[in-house]
């Protein structure tokens, strides 16, 4: 029982972390209509900048400044890179972000090297807030949970209470016409991209100490973020939230379950062969659910796309 409770909490934590990333991406994705492969890279930048800053000014300044820098960097990328590529169409845009991701990772290695960074959570939050059974729940994680909830509320306001959302949506198909109606589309694009990347930055700052700060951190999280927003439905903030939590809990429970596929095979009336090395199923016999945990999201996504191409909450096709 304790385990279930604690897993719920951990799942929530991981889910909301995903959400911090996917929320930014949903903004960008629904704006550019293109997969921003560099999104996770901005997340990584967030972590590294914060690490660097925290060494001189402490964690909290890092949390404050790093996302700003990342956001500005993002805006710059949009202004001087994407805007130019935008006219060529989606695939070039995608390649651009692809290359950007490559470049950012290399730059990070260039300046910080390949090693793990010893980026730590702030001392004041380095205690177990409470514990379920023998399991401790660090205060830091709780702090993260609340931050991401705050972000969600903020975004919801911007997208629903202002025209920005509509302008983005409209500009997706007829940017010129939207401009002709008097809206400064380029500025909106730049702003949104900046905000989106800044959000990724925040995620990086907060996740860095927990999930580790190393050059591969972007790649590890890279594609799962897309999976999240695709499952949630493009351009839908609620979708992003729902999907993030779904995946959070899915992976957590999968990892902590001890389900054996052998049981399944037995259930289908197969019997474990004596000499494993012979049977082609030998791997299935020894397979457990935690082993395939991380690919469950992909399976889920494929299924959803096949049966409901617009995701859980999406309106238009992804």
């Amino acid at each position: 029982m304790d385990l279930v409770v604690i897993n719920l909490i951990d799942g929530l934590f991981y889910g909301l972390l995903l959400f911090m990333l996917s929320s930014g991406l949903t903004l960008i994705f629904s704006m550019m209509g293109v997969l921003n492969f560099a999104h996770a890279s901005f997340y990584m930048l967030g972590a590294y900048f914060a690490y660097q800053i925290s060494m001189y000014l402490g964690f909290w300044m890092g949390l404050l400044i790093a996302p700003l820098i990342v956001g500005i960097a993002g805006a710059g990328v949009e202004r001087y890179g994407l805007r130019r590529v935008h006219q060529y169409g989606h695939v070039p845009e995608l390649i651009f972000t692809f290359g950007l991701a490559l470049l950012i990772e290399e730059l990070v290695k260039f300046f910080w090297g390949n090693n793990l960074m010893a980026y730590q959570e702030p001392e004041i939050l380095k205690f177990a807030l409470f514990s379920v059974g023998a399991n401790a729940v660090p205060a830091y994680k709780v702090f993260m949970i609340f931050t991401s909830i705050a972000i969600f509320v903020g975004l919801l306001y911007v997208l629903t209470r202002t025209r920005v959302g509509m302008i983005i949506q409209a500009a997706l198909s007829y940017p010129r016409t939207v401009e002709a109606l008097g809206h400064n589309v380029p500025l909106v694009f730049m702003g949104v991209f900046g905000v989106g990347t800044a959000l990724a930055g925040v995620a990086g700052v907060l996740a860095g100490p927990v999930l580790g700060t190393f050059p591969g951190m972007a790649f590890v999280l890279g594609s799962i973020v897309f999976v999240t927003i695709v499952i949630g439905g493009l351009g839908s903030l609620w979708g992003a939230l729902a999907a993030s939590l779904l995946l959070g809990w899915l992976t957590t429970f999968a990892a902590s379950s001890s389900f054996q596929f052998a049981d399944l095979l037995n259930f289908f009336g197969m019997t474990r062969p004596e000499d494993m090395s012979e049977s082609y199923l030998r791997d299935l016999w020894s397979l457990t659910l935690p082993q395939i945990g991380p690919i469950l999201p992909y399976i889920l996504m494929v299924l959803i796309l096949v049966f409901r191409p617009y995701g859980l909450f999406g309106k238009r096709d992804v």
């Binding site: 025209r163 509509m166 302008i167 949506q169 409209a170 997706l172 198909s173 007829y174 010129r176 016409t177 939207v178 401009e179 002709a180 109606l181 008097g182 809206h183 400064n184 589309v185 309106k315 238009r316």
Partner: protein, 233 residues
């Protein structure tokens, strides 16, 4: 209100506008006629800054050539593009809302959303469906309203009656006159000679990227040669 002097425009290498001169005054309806492909739409686009204009475009005495489209729009020029550009994924109402200038409240200008709905009850009926499914004609109405609601002082309307049923055409004609009555200048790009002759105060005829005739409807009626050479077969 609007003075276009020796305006040129290019698509890549092809020289589309070769020195266009147009002038429009307050509350005046000016029709821009011509065969397909002579560059009437391009003229509008050039004024709007959607295709880079070469030459001088003055609006309220201010040079606007080289300004950005949204700046021009915020100066008070409205543009109704020929192929409608209804924003998919947004409802009819939302499309109209986007017509409002940044920071502008509905009803602040000469037109409120309700006026629009009163004028075209189709739109009111379909107010909350996704606009991309509207019928051709409805889309045409929507584009026009979307621009008007932004309260421009000059509208350039590219083929407003296209795809409208005859009595809708009448309605549009009336609307145009109403627009003029409210002191808004209109540049009307039109195919249907009849209407142009009917409601325009002055008429320009374009051919090969130049203005080849300028005058009142009466003058044009009397000038068979122009009609023969530049308008009919």
């Amino acid at each position: 209100m609007l003075e276009v002097n020796d305006l040129h425009a290019y698509y890549g290498k092809s020289h589309i506008l070769q020195g266009v001169n147009i002038e429009i005054k307050e509350g005046e309806i000016v029709a821009l006629l011509g065969r397909n492909g002579v560059g009437r739409s391009t003229t509008c686009k050039a004024v709007m800054g959607e295709v880079p204009p070469v030459g001088s475009v003055k609006f309220k005495g201010q040079e606007i050539a080289g300004k950005k489209a949204f700046e021009i729009a915020n100066l008070g020029i409205g543009y109704v593009p020929e192929n409608r550009d209804i924003f998919p994924g947004l409802t009819t109402r939302q499309n109209l809302i986007l017509g409002l200038k940044p920071g502008q409240k509905d009803g602040a200008g000469r037109w409120s959303m309700q006026d629009m709905f009163n004028m075209f009850e189709n739109l009111e009926r379909r107010a909350d469906v996704e606009a991309s499914v509207l019928s051709g004609g409805e889309q045409q109405m929507l584009t026009m309203c979307r621009t008007l609601i932004g309260d421009p002082d000059l509208v350039m309307i590219d083929e407003p009656t296209e795809g409208l049923s005859p009595q809708m055409v009448q309605r549009v004609a009336e609307l145009l006159q109403e627009i003029a009555r409210r002191g808004i200048a209109t540049l009307l790009v039109e195919q249907k000679l009849a209407i142009a002759l009917d409601i325009a105060h002055r008429i320009y005829v374009m051919g090969h990227g130049k203005v080849v005739f300028e005058g009142t409807p009466e003058e044009l009626k009397s000038r068979d040669d122009v009609r023969k050479e530049w308008l009919e077969v």
